[in-house]
């Protein structure tokens, strides 16, 4: 990490209002990478300044389906400053790489520039020039002609069909159809979510540089080792020859975990011209250069008794995928666990459309799944005349209804109670359209959310240096979650040194290996690994102090020593009291180093490679005796203009169970960020297709509406979590994805309460209300 030469006043270090020292695990330490980010000193991946850098710009298909007939590159090649024009015919040949499961790939070439077009916006050519401006100008001169064939625009296209059944998604117990048919109260409704886009503020891009057969890639990445593996396989060089560097990431939300075709283009170009090449997607290209959240359709039917107790849930889901890729958005993930039901059936299909293959976006699966079930149970509440909060408690799942295992921890009841109390839910008037302020209809809605605790093995290096300072190294990353900060806190607390004396280095694949930073798993994995490595370093330090004849503690014949605030002493306080630096000097050591990994003891090198470069060794959240999830409850107030149908979110209170928080200040920020993205999903975000050309038309930040500051009210978050020893070494569960899950249905439920109109089709735009 960048060394900061900025003085930060003590008051800026974060408060210790709850009695926890700010820099201890669980303390509210301010971001240690904050000074670099607020002064502009933080160098993001593509901001490295390299000698001889050339610039590449992509040319994309303007049809959604067909073949490239010809690419005329003459004008582009003659344009000033152009070094090379890459087409499917001129780009070097690569090999197909394995996927993120590590499945052996087909033994065939891979070309990141397409001849066969399966979606609009597919990369077909690239121009490399001396300057960015020259590359942009020349890219506009590349003339591509096509033989166009009919395309399937999206799920609503008449040609789309019913798709492919994904049997692995089927979850069934009891006899759901029969129980539904027999139930005295029955509801059935369809819920749709559109294409949504991660839209991180930092566009995707990279700098690629070859030195012989060694490749360095500076690229924003949620998974350095996974992406390094892909580059190595594409270019048929050893894994060790590829170095990924990603010190800061300008937002990912799931979209920066995999090496993508533009990366292959840039690295190919660098190899072809023998110079480092920088390629950054334009903002419009970020809407087609990788996949956002797939559009989804769900049907939820609930059979219940007259007291609102659920007897049966039948759920059918569909998500779109691409013509030649496969993305399954698990739509039954929340449906199958949120409520107790004796009878259940969930099935899912995927439908191929002419789109880039969809991808992971904040809580893939859980997010749209919750929109379905959390809207449906609200509909049931009105059907039977029970308060929407009460019906959720009446159907509370005391154990995992699907896995039939005990929850590791489930503070959802506590979340409902804390949120309702703070929000003032008891003052809610139950009838729709019964609360208003002038011409604004007021609605109060509630919904729950959840996300599984994804676990994996981790590795870290902890080094105590001659001056007593500590280094932590890991190729894991910080895209804003606070990894730098919580790992500094973990090392500081474990070793007994001030957090100021800990430097955390992340985002370089030369450091200790790390798996994907996705699925809210990184904090739990990495705090465990750093804790283990730091414990081992501490043992070495104390061992030296006790046993080395040159140590001032040698004569003490103590069994153990205490390290606190960077000084070593005996537990009883008698005898010497020296700094770590003094001890290391006295025993003639310039450092102590420990590598900690949480892999099983008998793991092979192959296991380790597989663990860090694929997701194949991730631990199931229902492994062993427990089912592990984070939980939340959102209470949201909306104000709907009665004449115009405009919806504003005016108040949010959310209570969340992420287990133990390693740093509440940063966790609260992430929760709020998820909630805000959920407000965007509920009211604003939607990829709009040009049906003639199968092309997204709002592929920019002025037309694809994400929330602005003016759209967002004060948001109150309440932590109701307790340490969960079954979920991680230090007791935390997931934070990053949880916040968004349940927000959209809470808003849809509030809109129903305000207006009496049930909107089952996101986003809730004004024309759906008037």
């Amino acid at each position: 990490m960048t060394v900061h030469n900025i003085r930060v006043g003590e008051s800026k270090r974060g408060d210790a209002s709850d009695g926890t020292l700010a820099e201890a695990v669980g303390g509210r330490l301010s971001r240690v990478d904050g000074p670099a980010k607020i002064t502009g000193a933080a160098k993001y991946a593509v901001e490295q300044q390299l000698e001889g850098l050339a610039y590449a710009v992509l040319v994309e298909s303007t049809i959604a389906s067909g073949k490239v007939r010809a690419i005329d590159t003459a004008s582009a090649e003659a344009s000033p400053g152009v070094l090379r024009v890459l087409t499917p015919d001129t780009i070097i040949s690569l090999r197909t790489a394995s996927d993120w499961l590590g499945t052996t790939p087909p033994d065939k070439p891979y070309c990141p520039l397409a001849r066969d077009i399966t979606f609009s916006g597919q990369h077909v050519a690239a121009v490399v020039a001396e300057t960015f401006e020259q590359a942009v100008a020349a890219a506009a001169l590349v003339n591509v002609s096509y033989d166009e064939t009919p395309s399937i625009v999206d799920l609503s296209d008449g040609k789309a069909g019913d798709g492919i059944a994904i049997d692995a998604m089927t979850k069934e117990w009891g006899d759901a159809p029969a129980a539904f048919a027999a139930a005295p109260v029955r509801i059935c409704a369809a819920y749709n979510t559109p294409r949504e886009y991660q839209a991180p503020m930092e566009p995707h891009g990279l700098i690629a540089r070859w030195e012989g057969d060694r490749l360095t890639v500076w690229e924003p990445s949620q998974w350095l080792d996974g992406m390094a593996r892909t580059y190595a396989e594409w270019f048929e060089v050893p894994f060790e020859n590829v170095r990924l560097v990603s010190p800061y990431i300008g937002g990912g939300f799931g979209s920066k975990a995999l090496a993508l075709s533009h990366g292959a283009v840039a690295a190919s170009a660098a190899k072809m011209i023998g110079r480092p090449v920088k390629l950054v997607m334009t903002r419009p290209q970020t809407f087609t250069g990788y996949g956002g959240r797939a559009a989804t359709r769900q049907t939820v039917t609930i059979g219940a008794d007259r007291d609102g107790v659920i007897q049966s849930i039948v759920h059918r889901g569909v998500n779109e995928t691409s013509i030649d890729g496969m993305w399954v958005e698990p739509l039954g993930s929340v449906t199958s666990i949120m409520y107790a039901t004796p009878n259940f059936s969930s099935k899912q299909n995927v439908v191929r459309v002419n789109s880039v293959v969809p991808g992971a976006m904040r809580a893939p699966g859980e997010n749209p799944s919750a929109f379905g079930i959390e809207s449906a149970i609200d509909e049931l509440a009105y059907e039977v005349g029970i308060d929407p909060l009460e019906i959720r408690l009446r159907n509370y799942a005391e154990q995992d209804p699907h896995a039939k295992k005990a929850w590791s921890t489930r503070q959802l009841r506590e979340a409902f109670a804390a949120g309702a109390e703070r929000f003032g839910w008891s003052r809610r008037s139950p009838k729709p359209r019964s609360m208003r302020d002038g011409n604004q209809l007021i609605g109060w809605g509630v919904a729950a959310g959840t996300y599984p605790v994804r676990r994996a093995y981790g590795e870290a290096v902890v080094r105590i240096l001659a001056d007593g300072s500590v280094e932590v190294e890991s190729s894991s990353i910080d895209m804003g979650q606070g990894t730098y900060t919580i790992l500094a806190q973990t090392a500081a607390e474990t070793l007994g040194v001030p957090a100021d004396d800990v430097v955390v280095k992340l985002g370089d694949s030369r450091f200790a290996r790390a798996g994907v930073s996705g699925g809210s798993r990184l904090a739990g994995v990495m705090t465990g690994a750093v804790h283990k490595a730091a414990t081992s370093a501490l043992d070495q330090l104390v061992g030296l102090a006790i046993s080395d004849p040159r140590s001032p503690f040698h004569a003490l014949q103590a069994n153990t020593l205490v390290v606190a605030n960077g000084r070593i002493g005996s537990p009883r306080g008698d005898g010497p009291d020296v700094s770590i630096a003094e001890l290391l000097k006295s025993v003639g050591r310039d450092r102590i180093e420990a590598t900690g990994d949480t892999m099983p003891a008998n793991s092979t090198a192959e296991d380790r490679y597989k663990n860090y470069t694929t997701i194949a060794m991730a631990l199931p959240h229902t492994e062993g005796d427990y089912s592990r999830y984070s939980w939340c409850a959102h209470f949201i107030e909306v104000r709907v203009d009665e004449d115009f149908g405009t919806v504003r979110v005016s108040r949010v209170v959310s209570a969340l169970d992420s287990g133990r928080l390693y740093n509440p200040k940063l966790a609260e920020s992430q929760w709020k960020g998820g909630i805000i993205m959920g407000i965007g999903q509920a009211l604003l975000e939607e990829g709009i297709m040009d049906r003639r050309h199968g092309r997204i038309v709002n592929n920019n930040l002025a037309d694809y509406l994400v929330p602005t500051n003016a759209d967002i009210p004060d948001i109150e978050v309440i932590s109701v979590g307790i340490p969960d020893p079954h979920s991680s070494a230090l007791g935390g569960k997931g934070v990053g994805e949880l916040g968004i899950v349940g927000v959209a249905p809470a808003i849809a439920n509030a809109v129903f309460h305000a207006t009496g109109k049930r909107v089952r089709d996101l986003p809730i735009t004004l024309e759906k209300l008037i």
Partner: protein
């Protein structure tokens, strides 16, 4: 395209460039001068990540040609902290955790400094409105409002 000489005064330092007239101020900063604190989020004036000050007013560097800024005083995020002391807005952003990934942050801070100077930080409502041109996908908005409010109060007292 013929290159032209462009003289830029950035953070009190003079810079001389030979660039094509079509080079934006943003690309001049990031690609020619190594001043990468100013971020490119959209290159179309839609996100605010490239906000800098020209003669004290907030301007989008992606919609400004470098040549247009000649002879005017440009301030970027790198020029905000003086002699190692954080600007009060920077300090408030850190204290209030008004950012996560940090990519929109330089633009937010430059906008916030100008927002306060313009007299548009009188209430939370006003701050939200006058900071609405700077997108933050991490969703730090409530904390940005808190930071701007805090810094504005420090300036007022």
């Amino acid at each position: 395209m013929t290159k032209i000489p462009v003289h830029l005064d950035i953070n009190g330092r003079h810079h001389e460039l030979q660039i094509e007239p079509r080079v934006t101020l943003l690309d001049a900063l990031r690609e020619r001068l190594g001043l990468t604190g100013t971020k490119k989020g959209c290159d179309h004036g839609q996100c605010g990540a490239c906000t800098v000050h020209i003669d004290g007013e907030r301007v989008l560097a992606c919609l400004t040609l470098a040549a247009q800024a000649e002879g005017r005083a440009i301030t970027t995020i790198e020029g905000l902290a003086r002699e190692g002391e954080l600007h009060p807005v920077q300090a408030a952003f850190l204290e209030r955790d008004a950012f996560q990934c940090g990519y929109c942050t330089p633009g937010q801070i430059m906008s916030a400094v100008a927002c306060i100077r313009e007299g548009h930080a009188g209430s939370d409502e006003e701050i939200r409105e006058y900071m609405a041109g700077n997108l933050c996908r991490c969703g730090a908005y409530p904390h940005i409002v808190a930071a701007v409010r805090q810094a504005a109060q420090e300036f007022a007292s």
